[in-house]
Amino acid sequence: MYAYDELDRTLINERVSEFRDQVKRRLSGELTEDEFKMLRLQNGVYLQLHAYMFRVAIPYGTLSSKQLRRLAHIARRYDRGYGHFTTRQNIQFNWIKLAELPDALAELAEVGIHAMQTSGNNMRNVTSDQWAGVAPGEVEDPRIWSEILRQHTTLHPEFSFLPRKFKIAITASEHDRAAIKIHDIGLRLHKNADGETGFEVLVGGGLGRTPFIAKTIKPFVAGRDILSYVEAILRVYNQYGRRDNIYKARIKILVHELGIEKFAREVDEEWRQMGHSALTLDHSVIEEVRSRFSYPAYEKLPHMPDELKQAAHDPLFERWRKNSVAPHKVQGYSIVTLSLKPVGGPPGDATADQMDAIADLADKYSFGEIRVGHEQNLALPHVAKRDLPQLWKALDRLGLATPNVNLVTDIIACPGLDYCSLANARSIPIAQELTRRFANHDTADMIGRLHINISGCINACGHHHVGHIGILGVEKNGEEFYQITIGGRADENAQMGALIGPAVPYAEVADVIEDIVEAYLALRDRPEELFVDTVKRLGVEPFKERVYATR
């Protein structure tokens, strides 16, 4: 966990009073919507189809049980009893009343949670691997660096009016769980030949209308130089980013237009001119931030406790364990993923009661800590293996033990036309129907790892471009249609999926996806060949033939 200092608390509280005053003036008519819009957006408040939507940041995806209980309270007291975890380690409330928002913010501030910079053209929540600090083989805890960047960029005047929103993600593991290649800046922590810790810096990734995979701009920047280097990138972006055209304003367009080499030279020149001394991180500063992250007092536990051996006789437990439990860096412990993708449920939603219950389970089994991942699932990061059988029973009762992590029903979906004012088409009911079609866990296991991502419009909040199967809602003559892509991926080998054919109407989407999956099962050369690998080997054609032959 990270302990906030006095400065953080003061800043958050000041922000609440400021917003309370702004809301008051808006409701009295002293401020027009035009004047108010930017102020509300700076506090994470959007206007959606039915209501205001309130986006709250969960920095690097780490929550305490106390914080999660408070989120449950907000859902119950100010909303309709549930919240939606998003792909960027935020939680959104869909039905919040503007008049009550200042109170909600004040209650969140009491537990160190805020909504600053969760929208608007500034530095958004710096995200990280949800297994940070507990994944085996990690170089070091990436959250230290997320926090350093967060502190430096929060309310920084130079970065409060960027040409467009700006998203950074950091990973410190071989396997990228933070999707760094689809961020404006992706940072991969690693060690160079001299054993020094630093970052591979990637820039210019992003989805939306014009998707790009991020490119490496520098293979190694020492940890102490990362602030100055990121600032140099932001300065070049601030200077040359296209403020004249919202569709061209993201850094990805600038990088694409200049070319990565020229962009890199500009950044280097800026970096040189900055003299980067003022922003060089002292060892003591890094250690100060590091010391604010506390790690549990792990016990010395056996690798294979008796409780686990016994429980292994229960096939349902074993199925869940194999699917949702991952190795921990400390012997005798595990990382447990809590699926927020029950069959027939809206992906990423959790009720207030579930949140409270998860907080209790975290206290009992995970040193009071919860993680939020970009796949819209939660995790308990420090569970003793001997407790796994008990935890599983409790999760199962709560509907949080669906053994579908990384499987076909672990769908990432944006809110779509059910909530979103920008949507062309619905996303959630498509996801719900697909989870019903693939509800049989044996079938899902047999299919293996397969990520379906759904967005209700080209803004790509559901990351459809990088789904193994991507589904994008479009509009044709007032009707909902869906374009389907295959072969995308969001990990260290990130790439965009390829379109499989003409868009299909709402009613046919689930059938088409079933056909694609059936084609894969027939085409894969062995059961271990993953869907994405079959697509890579054979290309889109054989899938296209099978899916469209009968249509």
């Binding site: 409701l27 008519g29 205001y52 059910d418 009911p429």
Partner: protein
Amino acid sequence: MTSPLEQKKIRITGPSVVTANRTWDGAVVYRTAQQGWSTALSDAAIVSTSDDARALLAESAADDVGAVGAYIAPVELKGGVVKPGNLREHIRSKGLTIDLLPA
């Protein structure tokens, strides 16, 4: 459903209403003939010419304290009953099309 938030030219082809979100709570509201707002579509003032639509929108937009983001939305009239004219407006009027709990 292309978002109507960026309505530039106002030209309507059938019966229409003005809709917005109520400022204090964000609820979906419709402009009434009494120059107020109502959460019931059945209370909405219905216009059928572009000039009337333009006038109703101008009057509605001026009431920025009452509701925000006013725009013109199509409706259907069936046997004297007003119905939303497209899926987006249907969802705004009737609510989510989905089950919130797993089923």
